[in-house]
């Protein structure tokens, strides 16, 4: 199979899947089988590109010679994009299985539309991952926003509508006002939009305007949820939990930080940023976001909201890695895309399983739940350890690399990372601890009628006897929890994949 054909297949499969899902809409079993199989096939197609990328032969595919004058619509799979694509495509089939269980147990409406938009979102994410120039990246970035909009507003309630406005307003507003401006300026200045190792801006942009251009790019990628443009992410939690899990912990938010990393590496070039110090301010903003978001996460009693703020904090790690522009920091940032994705999706899977099975949405309601749902809560513990960055989970390595990078820059940044890990222990670990070691509340029946969050519109929320989550949810969340552990032992492969980014 030729390489460019491989890229085309990987991109085309989710679209075909979306069409088939739409056709099979009337028969849920067929529909979900199609989704799952498409997900697996897409993952295989993406993984098939891996050997070529590792060997340094970057697969290319050009669809349109001139989408804009002098700018083709084209894809080139480089290491960073390979990693992001593997993460997104790899977690898609797992999430499909989980979503099938979740939506049925939760009696959601419009399930066909849900799966169609889901497949289109993955298509857009892969387009972002493989984009060979800024225009292609921007195209798929907007497609991703639009494809996820119906998922965020899935319930079509006034609350969902409000969240949808914030979502679209911030994501589209920043991308149109800032990102497009930055891209247009880049083309005007450099005469090209291609991603070139070493960057394209050197000698074309005045040193004094580099920080401003970087700011336009970073805040233009609103999906990275860097403060103060983070409000859309907690709002997006109104979506069904599988959406929060795959899109708002993996595909969408990682699209933002991935784009920032890619722009830093391939548009600015590490040397240019290091020489001019244009990214110094970004280290400060990223550090502020890391700490503030962690502090806010403390205050959240709603489980999904707490996870959302934790995501904002963790995304800022990756931005920090990009801003520090040392080789270790870039590698750490890239690795963190993978480790945080697997860890956070585990946590969201668990949160969704708790909502559907135990009808509990608040952290304070979880006392003693570990006895009823031991596997779910064990997975939650593993995911938490990975997010905090403790062995034996993958998260420890990405934090380690980021800390090494920070040590080269300034001891203050190391302090920020350590403090944030402590905060992580504070807001994540109590959850499994309460579940396993606290006694269940005495008269839980009174829980009914209050404290149920937005993700919950059941009338039958009595504290009924329940056991573990539905197998269709339990298996996926166990798989991703195991993934967290595996990443601890195999993360050197990820680092090896990314190494070409920092060794010109």
């Amino acid at each position: 199979m030729s390489q460019s054909l491989g890229v085309g297949v990987a991109l085309g499969l989710p679209v075909v899947g979306a069409a088939l899902v739409a056709l099979a809409g009337k028969r849920p079993n067929v529909r979900e089988a199609v989704t799952g199989l498409t997900g697996l096939a897409t993952f295989v197609a993406v993984a098939a590109l891996y050997p070529a990328v590792v060997a340094g032969r970057l697969p290319e595919l050009q669809l349109v010679e001139a989408m804009l004058p002098g700018v083709p619509l084209m894809f080139r799979v480089e290491p960073l994009g390979m990693l992001y694509a593997l993460v997104a495509a790899g977690l898609w089939p797992v999430t499909s299985a989980y979503a099938a269980g979740y939506l049925r147990e939760h009696h959601e409406q419009n399930q066909t539309r849900f799966f169609v938009c889901f497949a289109l979102s993955i298509f857009a994410a892969l387009g972002i991952a493989f984009a060979g120039n800024l225009a292609t990246l921007f195209l798929f970035y907007e497609v991703l926003t639009l494809a996820t909009f119906p998922l965020v507003t899935h319930h079509q309630t006034p609350e969902a509508q409000r969240a949808g406005r914030v979502y679209l307003g911030i994501l589209m507003g920043t991308s149109v006002c800032f990102l497009l401006l930055a891209i247009a300026f880049t083309y005007y200045a450099a005469g090209t939009l291609d991603f070139v190792p070493g960057g394209i801006l050197r000698g074309h942009v005045a040193t004094s305007s580099l920080p401003l251009l970087l700011a336009l790019f970073v805040y233009g990628c609103g999906k990275a949820a860097l403060m103060p443009l983070h409000r859309w992410l907690p709002n997006a939690m109104v979506a069904p939990t599988p959406v929060s899990a795959l899109l708002h912990a993996v595909a969408v938010v990682k699209a933002g930080v991935f784009a920032i990393l890619k722009i830093v590496v391939y548009v600015f070039g590490l040397d240019l940023l290091r020489d001019t110090g244009a990214s110094d301010w970004l280290m400060f903003m990223a550090s502020v976001t890391i700490l503030l978001a962690s502090l806010i996460a403390f205050k959240q009693d709603n489980l999904k909201a707490r996870l959302a703020y934790s995501t904002i904090s963790q995304l800022a790690y990756i931005v920090l890695g990009a801003a520090m522009v040392t080789p270790d920091a870039i590698l750490g940032g890239g690795l963190h895309i993978a480790t945080h994705a697997v860890g956070k999706i585990t946590l969201f899977f668990c949160a969704g399983a708790i909502i559907v099975t135990a009808h509990k949405t608040e952290v304070s309601q979880l006392d003693g739940l570990g006895k009823k749902m031991p596997i779910t809560m064990a997975a939650f513990l593993i995911g938490s350890l990975s997010i905090i960055g403790l062995p034996p989970t993958g998260g420890s390595w990405s934090k380690w690399l980021l800390a090494l990078g920070a040590a080269e820059q300034s001891p203050v940044l190391v302090g920020v990372l350590m403090l944030s890990s402590l905060l992580g222990i504070g807001y994540l670990l109590p959850i499994p601890l309460r579940a396993f070691f606290f006694d269940p509340p005495a008269s839980p029946a009174r829980e009914h009628g209050h404290g149920h969050g937005h993700d919950h519109d059941h009338g039958h929320a009595q504290d009924h006897e329940h056991g573990e989550a539905h197998p269709l949810m339990l298996v996926p969340l166990s798989l991703t929890a195991v993934g967290c552990l595996l990443l601890f032992f195999y993360s050197q492969h990820v680092v090896a994949l990314l190494r070409p980014l920092v060794t010109p």
Partner: protein, 491 residues
């Protein structure tokens, strides 16, 4: 045969108009009108695609400057092709619901429509200043008639409003042409531009340009001369508002370009008169005020009409740069917006035919009922915003590059900020379509399904606007050639 193409695309609709009235047959008149527009479009496309340089056609065999010359350059052929094509799409609009505004008056309606097409096409192809005025009046008078044929009584007020302002504009154009003739002694474009050098320091020449610019500005709906537009667009019969939205202001814009570039010359207009400094603030205000007003409109067609005022702001902004890149962006946006806005008006027509009236809240919950129409509206709306992958993005990109090349990044930011307003008004409609429950007390829908005639023309235009957003090479290259030959290194 092929050398007669320039005159054919005017003559065919012009002569079909009396034919429609004579035949006096309801069905036949529609067929004749559609055929005439389609033939005119064929002529325009043939010319546009086969021409290698500007085409000059001496009317009646008289030498230019003595006789009347028709002169079609790349830009003219491009605009002519757009106008005639959109006329074909608009007139072929096929539901009973959208035609019932003109029941009993079909032949007059179609005759006036054909006159309007002939007038607009004539303005585009002629190389003679007085001809511009004649064709301007032909198209204007027929437009007033067409607007007055709207279903509601408010259409009469709208038509009268348009008549007053339009006549004012026409008169200004005439005065401008008269002064120009006084100064140069000729009406032929090429001859005028050759002689204007000698008189360009005289105040009468300045005044001639001012009259022409303001007169065309009224017809182009440049802010604050746009008062006629919302009423006319929202009250006219659907076929007419779809047609006008895509063509009327565009032809006037092209005419303004020609006055600036072909008659008076870029150097004079921008360096001596500083026309750009005058046009730029007005364009900026139009971009924001038009789009902002669109957000608060209670009816779908008024929303689209105010959006047009904002979009005209982008057109004049591109012209105000006074560069070839700006001209290129303006011509691209002319085409992009023509296709997009016509598609949206056609979709609006299909919706209104189903629910019976124009108010936005009557569209509540129709997203589920008419999924294809609604999807078409979303895609067209995205093109209006300028989301990548649509033709609106291609023209916005050209505009951004033109502005940046002029060294004004803050202007680029304002352009993008104003397109955020487009996001708001487009998604306001999207929310109504998809989020609101259908009205409880709504009268029943006209039909269960929208019949195919009402959405196929719109669907085709939506496909074009999305397709050209990805395969943008064809329009981009053609327009680049057009802008280059029009501008000719003038500055």
């Amino acid at each position: 045969m092929s050398e007669h193409l320039p005159i054919l695309m005017v003559l065919v609709p012009l002569l079909s108009a009396p034919l429609v009235v004579f035949i006096k047959h309801r069905k036949a008149s529609r067929v004749i009108a559609t055929l005439a527009c389609a033939l005119s479009a064929c002529a325009a496309w043939t010319l546009a695609l086969q021409m290698s340089s500007a085409v000059s056609y001496p009317l009646g065999g008289w030498r230019p400057a003595i006789g009347i010359e028709l002169r079609v350059d790349f830009a003219g052929a491009y605009v002519a092709a757009i106008v005639s094509t959109i006329a074909t799409f608009a007139i072929s609009l096929g539901t009973r619901g959208t035609r019932e505004d003109v029941v009993g008056r079909e032949m007059f309606f179609y005759a006036a429509f054909l006159m309007c097409v002939a007038g607009l096409m004539g303005m585009v192809v002629t190389g003679d200043a007085f001809n511009v005025f004649v064709f301007l009046e032909i198209s204007s008078l027929s437009t007033y008639t067409l607007v007055a044929m709207g279903k509601e009584r408010r259409a009469l007020t709208a038509a009268l409003n348009y008549l007053f302002l339009g006549t004012l504009g026409g008169t200004f154009v005439l005065i401008g042409i008269g002064l120009m003739y006084q100064m140069t002694g000729t009406l032929n474009a090429a001859a005028v531009s050759a002689r204007i050098r000698e008189v360009e320091h005289l105040r009468t020449t300045h005044v001639a340009f001012a009259f022409l610019a303001v007169g065309l500005g009224i017809k182009l709906a440049v802010f604050p001369l746009h008062q006629w537009l919302p009423g006319a667009y929202s009250q006219a019969p659907h076929a007419v508002s779809s047609f006008l939205a895509g063509t009327a202001t565009k032809v006037m814009y092209f005419q303004l370009i020609r006055v600036v570039v072909s008659f008076f010359g870029v150097a004079y207009v921008f360096d001596t008169l500083h026309f750009g400094d005058f046009l730029l603030p007005l364009s900026l205000v139009a971009m924001f005020a038009g789009s902002l007003s669109a957000i608060f409109q209670p009816s779908l067609r008024r929303l689209l009409a105010y959006s047009s005022i904002g979009q005209v702001g982008y057109l004049t902004l591109a012209l105000s740069l006074g560069t070839e890149a700006g001209l290129n962006a303006g011509l691209l946006h002319l085409g992009a917006h023509a296709v997009t806005k016509t598609a949206l008006f056609l979709i609006a027509a299909a919706f209104i035919a189903q629910v019976g009236d124009d108010r936005l809240d009557r569209l509540s919950g129709l997203g589920k009922r008419y999924p294809l129409l609604s999807l078409g509206f979303v895609l067209g709306g995205l093109s209006l915003i300028g989301v990548p992958g649509t033709v609106g993005f291609v023209s916005k990109w050209a505009l951004l590059e033109a502005v940046l090349a002029g060294g004004r990044p803050w202007l680029a930011f304002l352009i993008l900020a104003s397109s955020m307003l487009a996001v708001v008004y487009v998604f306001r409609v999207v929310e109504v379509l998809y989020f609101r429950a259908p009205l409880a007390n709504a009268p029943p829908l006209a039909r269960e399904r929208a019949d195919w005639g009402s959405w196929v023309p719109a669907g085709l235009l939506v496909l074009v606007s999305v397709g050209l957003g990805v395969w943008s090479e064809l329009p981009s290259e053609y327009v680049a050639t057009a802008a280059q030959s029009l501008f000719g290194g003038a500055r």
